[in-house]
Subunit: 462 residues, 2 copies
């Protein structure tokens, strides 16, 4: 019976998107069982590759008829299990919707399909002297649709905000197969509830994004980077705070702990100060005069806070090299042990140093090796457990540490996820953060828009 | 029977907030019949002034029991009828919730109650070298709660965005009297749907805002203003476009047509070029070197676009004077005729000049006197009908022109409301803008959160 249903479902999917765009063979399905999150895997029933919104709508109607859950998938780079299938799911691969449709330089907008690789967006903007600031760590492999669905952050959050801040409008296919436009080309638009903002960060649970109208900025004319090594995390955090207190807003303000720093240096070999206990990477962009002044000021603040070494990038190439090295943090750590499990804890920036200390103690107590790096500027950072997900005892320690860390972040006014999303991996923590009324509201919204729980079921909440 | 019900309701309200905080005498209720929108008035059944969220919750429970609609009210400055009562309504005056509760300079946040006058927010921020950019025209009389409920815009939208961009978290009382926190102190927070963003701009229809956590910026170090008079609106619009094409992002880029310009000069007497057909007011802020350079560049662009006269403000005082003059546009126009009815049409900025011409022709055809001013930088502007709302024939012309203008704005990719909200006055136009699926979603959301239609019923949609 189950096989008969599956065969009917597969036929209907082939009708919807063409038989060349449906995978059902076990060997082909395997690579869609996971995203970039350790510890979660489930082979789907089928994978489909629609070519446009109309085909997406057709797929949703088929899946509704056959009661098959739909799991939208972009680059598969989720770090919260957001793209991991549930049993019997149809994975909706959006890689064919990969066109940049229009750039309107005068309106500072870009219209794209969801399957465009994130890095391509800013590359296309740059050709016209424009700028798309959000830069999640996975920028070279993630897709813009996934970025919007998870409201991806990135290194430039402190100055430029997150993906949400650059979404003007969305085309979405709703669970009933209807296509809706949410938002407009206007910077100011107050015509009814901002449903656009409800769908940004909804992790594929409310609708499938099929077009995105992005807001662009003029490209900053200059950029500079300053690197400073400190003996302790406290010194680095104090320097970061002093930069904010001096009323500067750097475009990035990143930190690496010693373990991360050493892993990165082993990969990049650019002479990072590996004896430092913590490293700060500070970037500023804007008008050349402002940039020169702020870089000098940040270097001085670092020295005033007992930096062991301060290095100013001499040119854009050197600044790029430092930013690239920072991007190596996760891949470099991932090479050290069989599994690197990335947390995404976030606290108000004033709580950063204390939170780092708490994490050090907590992971030690549970016998978990942990490296840390992240965004000192916005309090969002990534304790990374270096472990082996096949080792049951080790994973018990990881889970215990993870929960204590989430609880501590909440005590300090933080959030259990700053930029990776709730997905599967943070689902147990969400009720700790949301009060009962707001948690109930989440479910009411989901029920109102997706009453049959068709879209990405089991993500965010049960 | 109706009187008995009213008397029970009034008693229950007195129990909820104290008898000194309930108005029911007809003479006292009259001033709560209107907001700043011409053409809409309805005396409420009662007005209450709760002191905190707990009292707001008590009022909502009472009103739910007695099935009395609740209309939240801040400064009463709505220009879309957002605060106009429905028959039998209890107006929830939030003026007692008027405290700035906390400024955390290190986290760049400010926690406030909804009844704080908008202008006080930036004044308080300025004392710590910080900046709250949103500056709706009514900044000196509107409240921050009303700004959030209507996602108010303002003059600085082009560079700094709108109120939504500065709301980190909200405390809201839901229709069932439950109190929910939406959002957190973290710049990056992806823990579930962004209900905060759903409530921003929901015009009091989903919940009552009782606390607001605002995001602040470092205060720009310098500011400059340039004024340019042009023979035609086309020249002014071309200059505005050239500024964007030169990859500048001025903090304001305002235009006034001749009629508005003359009305403002008659009030302000600061020597505005009253023979010009259109005036551009351009402001830039940021690093002193960048500001000086951009001001010179904007002045040159204005000259290159046949400006009749270009004036650079020599100092901050003169820049303030120009900005203040611009703020006089609406009050100055309002003095010319018995009624000044403000539109809030918005188009992508590339469509601005063509839209202005269309409005001139359309209002002439309907025999309606119309002055125009607004935000050239973001395409949001305010055709202002100078008329008499008691003159039935004149008002037929106004309504016909208004509808044609809304339809034309939509044809050009615009919105029927850029910053004033839908309220009562734009309700008929909303279905023209929203496709059927997205319009249906609005109602689904309202039903899910406020199934008894208790809060501000009849606003946005029926």
């Amino acid at each position: 019976m189950q096989n008969f249903r599956m065969s009917c479902l597969a036929d209907a999917l082939r009708d919807a998107v063409g038989s060349g765009n449906v995978l059902t063979a076990p060997g082909e399905l395997e690579r869609y069982a996971r995203d970039a999150t350790a510890g979660f895997a489930q082979v789907p029933a089928a994978v489909v590759f629609p070519a446009d919104a109309v085909q997406v709508a057709a797929v949703l109607r088929v899946c509704r008829t056959w009661r098959a859950p739909v799991v939208p998938r972009g680059g598969g780079t989720s770090l919260s299990g957001g793209a991991v299938p549930v049993p019997g799911a149809v994975v909706l691969g959006l890689e064919k919707l990969n066109r940049i449709l229009e750039i309107e330089a005068q309106n500072l907008t870009m219209l794209v399909e969801p399957g465009v690789i994130t890095a391509r967006i800013d590359e296309a903007a740059a050709k016209q002297g424009l700028f798309y600031p959000p830069d999640p760590g996975s920028i070279k492999t993630s897709t813009i649709g996934g970025n919007v669905a998870s409201n991806a952050g990135g290194l430039r959050g402190i100055k430029y905000g997150v993906t949400r801040d650059y979404v003007l409008a969305l085309e979405v296919v709703l669970p009933d197969g209807e296509i809706a436009w949410l938002g407009s080309k206007c910077r100011k638009d107050v015509a009814g509830y901002s449903l656009r903002d409800l769908f940004v960060g909804s992790e594929g649970t409310l609708g499938v994004i099929t077009k995105i109208l992005l807001k662009l900025l003029p490209r900053p004319k200059a950029r500079a980077a300053v690197l400073a090594g400190f003996a302790t995390m406290e010194d680095a955090a104090a320097a970061a705070s002093a930069i904010i207190a001096a009323r500067m807003l750097p475009c990035t303000l990143e930190f690496l702990d010693q373990k991360t720093l050493r892993a990165v240096e082993a990969e990049a070999r650019i002479g990072l100060p590996v004896t430092a206990g913590a490293l700060l990477l500070m970037e500023t962009d804007g008008h050349p005069a402002a940039v020169a002044e702020e870089a000098a000021q940040m270097a001085q603040i670092a020295r005033d806070h007992r930096a062991l070494e301060v290095r100013e990038a001499k040119n854009a190439g050197e600044a790029d090299q430092l930013a690239e090295a920072r991007r190596l943090a996760y891949p470099a750590l991932a090479k050290l042990r069989p599994s690197a499990i990335l947390e995404d804890v976030t606290v108000p920036r004033s709580e950063l140093a204390a939170m780092v200390r708490f994490i050090e103690k907590t992971t030690q107590r549970h016998g978990v090796e942990c490296a840390m790096f992240g965004h000192a500027g916005d309090g969002n950072f990534h304790p990374t457990y270096l472990t082996d997900e096949r080792d049951v005892t080790a994973m018990i320690g990881v889970r215990a540490a993870s929960r204590e860390i989430a609880e501590e972040a909440l005590r300090r006014g933080g959030t259990v996820s700053g930029e990776h999303g709730i997905g599967l991996s943070k689902k147990a923590y969400l009720p700790l953060q949301r009060d009962a009324a707001s948690f109930a509201l989440l479910k009411q919204i989901k029920r109102a828009i997706d009453p049959e729980n068709l879209l990405n079921p089991g993500k965010i909440f049960d």
